[in-house]
């Protein structure tokens, strides 16, 4: 088991290194682009050349990559042209905001989707199963750019219960967090619940669940001890992969509610062609993907004894 974990961690590091090399080649192979992006279109060629020499862009590519990587590891991510501040500082604040959003998103999503999915899968074909299925399909089929408008129309403009923007200008506010979290959960829970339902229904039909029933175990025990653990393997992996989805999913929602988070930062960096900021955001996304994939894989092994090697 320990060897398996180490092997997987090494693989994760290798993935991240490979991704960083790709990113470097994409963004910084041609120094001219970097100078253009940093100094703007109205700079002269001479100014750009001077800037490149001053910033060490005349050195060989390999050295530049290693330096770039080293700077990245120690948290020196350059300055943002757009915000006139160190990239690390800006990204830090924005990432924290999205982490709070993500925490509440998962805190609601996990019990809601797993609970509904399990209930539906336990009694396949019952009216409860059908009701849950319909609800899931309807909510999942409305993408966030539409659902944000819809829920705003209801809760902000008709009922006047909640604020329509979540910019948190006067400090953190839970009231302002509700709408973005709701938009994300509404879109995503149906999907996870459907997967959970299918997984649960499959497990409930297995011989070992029937065997547990025929040993005279009470229904509660059959569901909680025998079925649930095996049924949750698939949704667990999926949830982990959804951390990635969240990063792109939040762009629309954060932008719509003017939430100062990581998603809207990516958008701003791309629109403003802020190269260093974009590099940092992309690297963080890659990092998140690699880490959650690793957790998903290791969790799968932990949940499923058949995957363990002696």
């Amino acid at each position: 088991m320990a060897r398996q974990v180490l092997r997987r961690l090494a693989l994760m590091l290798a993935t991240m290194l490979a991704a960083s090399l790709l990113l470097f080649l994409l963004f910084e192979l041609l120094p001219g682009n970097v100078a253009l992006s940093e100094l703007g279109p109205y700079s002269t060629q001479e100014q750009r050349d001077l800037w490149l020499v001053a910033n060490g862009y005349d050195r060989p590519v390999v050295i530049r990559y290693l330096l770039w990587l080293g700077h990245f590891v120690i948290g020196d991510w350059g300055n943002s042209r757009l915000f006139m501040a160190p990239v690390a500082q800006i990204v830090g604040v924005r990432f924290e905001n999205t982490a709070v959003l993500g925490f509440w998103f998962f805190a609601l999503l996990v019990p809601l989707s797993l609970g509904l999915g399990t209930l539906a899968g336990m009694r396949q074909g019952s009216w409860l199963d059908r009701a849950i299925s319909v609800l899931c399909i309807v909510t999942t089929s409305i993408p966030p750019f539409a659902s944000t408008v819809l829920i705003s129309a209801i809760f902000v403009f008709s009922l006047h219960w909640l604020p329509g923007t979540s910019s948190m200008m006067d400090g953190f506010s839970y009231r302002q967090l509700i709408m973005p979290v709701m938009a994300l959960v509404l879109y995503d829970f149906g999907y996870i619940a459907r997967i959970t339902r299918a997984s649960m229904a499959e497990v409930m039909a297995t011989q070992y669940v029937r065997a547990a029933v025929l040993r005279g175990l009470p229904q509660r025990r059959v569901v909680l001890r025998h079925a649930l653990r095996n049924a949750l393997i698939a949704p667990f992996t999926l949830l982990m992969l959804h951390v990635n989805w969240l990063i792109s999913g939040v762009i629309v929602v954060e932008y719509f509610f003017a939430f100062k988070g990581f998603g809207s930062l990516i958008l701003e960096a791309s629109l403003g062609k802020d190269l260093y900021l974009l590099e940092a955001c992309t690297m963080i996304t890659v990092f998140m993907a690699a880490v959650t994939q690793t957790i998903a894989d290791l969790g799968y092994v932990a949940l499923n004894p058949r995957m363990r090697r002696a």
Binding site: Q207, Y208, A211, L214, R215, G216, L217, R229, P305, R306
Partner: protein
């Protein structure tokens, strides 16, 4: 003497499933009683309602099924009157169940210990420690070595035989009064099966647990039960004591079940398999009158189809009953004489295997599995070679090398003039592909459910280059369907519209698309019902005779092997233990392993001089025993020499070979496993 009290009573029980097409009667009017401590066998083909009956006894018919008539009483109480909670308590504590597939019945993500103890904790309120102690004791009682280790293992870490023992231990733990055994050994090797039957017999003696043994195998029923009930299409057609029914089966269906099983104790010229024609009528299309009428050779129009046939007592003395109007008039027909294979002047070798090695490397630099070691044998043209042995002995590896799915590590397989050992499938010329074909074990998995039968056979015809134009392919498909005795109309059917036996016929038709010279059949009948097995066996033999095909059969069913094979190769842990003609292998001198295999064969009416139950598990192929591979389980082990030295290959008369340290004349003095035919109780 006081009659023991009745534990389970089924009184005129009828069970129906509710479907969109209306109620489908799965079981009709079954009456059966099991006394305390008694073992009763329930026999019949699949689809006869045996398992439905077992589920009804446990009160678990699901949402669609219901007992629509009669009454089931357990320990004097009617199931219909019990509350859901009472039924739950009856399950496990009153009635335990053991399933066909032990692996599937165990939760893959829970340790064995947790699964065993929870039953006790729930049913008896035992403390965790006491439950653990009891579980360990029961694991020891079912003869599992090292129970402590088993408690901490996950199901996938145990072998099939060990898993089945765990399932039996699990059923026994709450000390039920009745054990339902639903085909508990069907998925196991014969040697392991013999061990489980031994165990069940021992448990009956020590615990006095009553048993309802559901099986399609009359031989196993005979080894375990006192009474048998034969079920056909939802009804009991014959009941009685094992001794009586095995001596004189009265119902044509029972007789059919007996005569469609090939026996390992008789040479094939003395056997003739008579398959039961047709198949079990579906519950909603049962004929009027006798339900067996469409398949019965003694059917009389106007009599058998006139009224429903009652279950009639045979005489006053015994409790034997039979559901046949003509049982007094019919007698088993004498077996027709065997039509001998025309023996050619000189046998010509079509396939010569010599010193074949196949080694698998698990991960680079890691463990090595020697799946095939120094295999050498010849196959004469137009004859049948059977490769037998337990699972994991390397039979399938050999088939894979032969078919080119994997390449040999060393040695050669000469097919006519080509060496196949290192010739992978994709480098074999088209003509060679045509000459070498395969029939698979499970027709359900080898036929594509989306395409019609005709299209699948046609594809083989086209791919093998037999015919190219549309009309030619169609004609060939029709011819192949005819060859396998399927109506031409089947070409447009899809696999799911076919029965298991029909699907296997399609598989055979596909293999014979290019008139192959050699066909490898990997367990061709073991996934089929007994009555169908006989028909498929006959079909293979007929085609072989007509087309002069050579067959290489991979099988663990010794009756089938005796019936069909001319030559036999016995394998153990990747090596040939014994090779020779069927007559030589099935008679002394035996290799001790062959002897154990033969004695374990579960065949009805087999008069055995002894039963050898091999101790221990099959050793891992990664760490084979030193010296003789069989020494760890050999009942005739000599001593140190078996552990240190690889046994010599002893050549006997007629090319018969045995790999053993024991001198051949000593092996020759071993009495035969099967008693001579005169003493047989059953025809």
């Amino acid at each position: 003497m006081l009659k023991p009290s009745t534990l389970l009573a089924l009184d005129d029980v009828s069970i129906s499933y509710h479907t969109r097409a209306g109620a489908v009667p799965a079981v009709t009017g079954v009456s059966l009683a099991i006394d305390e401590g008694e073992a009763v066998g329930l026999v019949g083909e699949s689809g006869c309602g045996k398992s439905t009956l077992a589920m009804a006894i446990l009160g678990h018919l699901g949402g669609r099924g219901a007992v629509v008539g009669g009454e089931i009483r357990f320990a004097g109480r009617a199931l219909a009157g019990m509350s859901p909670d009472e039924i739950r308590r009856m399950r496990g504590r009153g009635i335990g169940i053991v399933y066909q597939e032990a692996m599937a019945a165990l939760n893959p993500s829970m340790r064995i210990g947790a699964q065993l103890t929870e039953t006790l904790i729930v049913h008896r309120g035992t403390s965790r420690d006491a439950a653990r102690k009891a579980a360990i004791a029961t694991l020891a009682e079912v003869k599992l070595p090292d129970p402590e280790r088993v408690m901490d293992a996950y199901p996938h870490q145990l072998s099939g035989g060990q898993q089945q023992r765990v399932v039996i231990a699990m059923a026994l733990l709450p000390e039920p009064r009745l054990l339902l055994l639903d085909e508990p050994t069907t998925a196991l090797d014969v040697t392991v099966e013999a061990g489980i039957i031994d165990l069940l017999n021992g448990l009956r003696r020590s615990r006095g647990t009553a048993m309802l043994f559901i099986s399609h195998n009359l031989g196993l029923v005979g080894q375990l039960c006192e009474r048998v009930a034969v079920m056909y299409s939802g009804e009991l057609v014959e009941t009685g004591s094992v001794a009586d029914m095995f001596a004189t089966p009265r119902h044509p269906y029972t007789m059919g079940l007996f005569s469609c099983i090939p026996r390992p104790d008789l040479p094939r010229r003395e056997q003739h398999l008579t398959p039961i024609r047709g198949q079990v009528s579906p519950p909603n299309a049962r004929p009027p009158g006798c339900i067996f009428a469409p398949r019965c050779d003694w059917f009389q129009a106007g009599r058998c189809d006139a009224v429903r046939v009652p279950l009639e007592a045979v005489d006053l003395a015994s409790d034997a009953r039979v559901r046949c109007l003509r049982w007094r008039e019919i007698a088993p027909e004498p077996r027709p004489a065997w039509e001998a294979l025309a023996t050619g002047a000189a046998e010509q070798t079509i396939l010569a295997v010599s010193r074949l090695d196949k080694t698998y490397q698990l991960r680079s630099g890691g463990a090595v599995v020697r799946a095939n070691q120094q295999l050498s044998f010849d196959v004469p043209r137009g004859r049948t070679l059977a490769v037998v042995g337990e699972s994991g002995c390397g039979k399938s590896t050999f088939a894979n090398v032969l078919m080119g799915l994997t390449s040999a590590t060393a040695g050669e397989i000469r097919f006519e003039t080509t060496d196949l050992a290192k010739l992978p499938l994709d480098r074999r010329p088209a003509l060679l592909l045509r000459d070498l074909q395969m029939v698979f074990q499970n027709p359900d998995e080898t036929l594509n459910p989306c395409y019609s039968v005709g299209r699948q056979i046609g594809r083989a015809v086209r791919k093998l280059g037999v015919e190219r134009d549309r009309a030619g392919v169609q004609a060939r498909v029709r011819a192949l369907l005819g060859l396998t005795r399927l109506p031409a109309a089947f070409a447009s059917r899809r696999p799911r519209q076919l029965s298991g036996g029909q699907k296997q016929r399609v598989g055979i038709a596909r293999a014979f698309a290019g008139t192959p010279k050699l066909v490898v059949a990997d367990e061709p009948v073991s996934a089929l019902d007994v009555s169908v097995q006989a028909a498929i066996t006959e079909l293979l033999r007929d085609i072989q005779r007509n087309q002069d095909t050579t067959l290489v059969i991979i099988s663990h069913d010794l009756g089938f092997v005796r019936y069909i094979a001319d030559r036999v190769v016995v394998m153990y842990l990747g090596q040939v233990m014994e090779a020779g003609s069927a007559e030589e292998v099935f008679a002394p001198p035996y290799h001790p392993y062959t002897e154990a295999l033969l004695s374990a064969a579960p065949v009805a009416g087999l008069a055995r001089n002894r039963r050898i139950v091999l101790s221990g598990e099959l050793p891992s192929a990664m760490a084979p025993p030193s010296g003789c591979p069989f020494q760890t389980r050999c009942p005739r082990k000599l001593g140190a020499i078996c552990e240190t030295e690889r046994p010599p290959e002893q050549l006997l008369a007629g090319g018969h070979r045995i790999l053993c340290h024991i001198p051949p004349d000593e092996l020759g003095r071993v009495p035969p496993v099967y008693a001579p035919e005169e003493t047989l109780a059953v025809d």
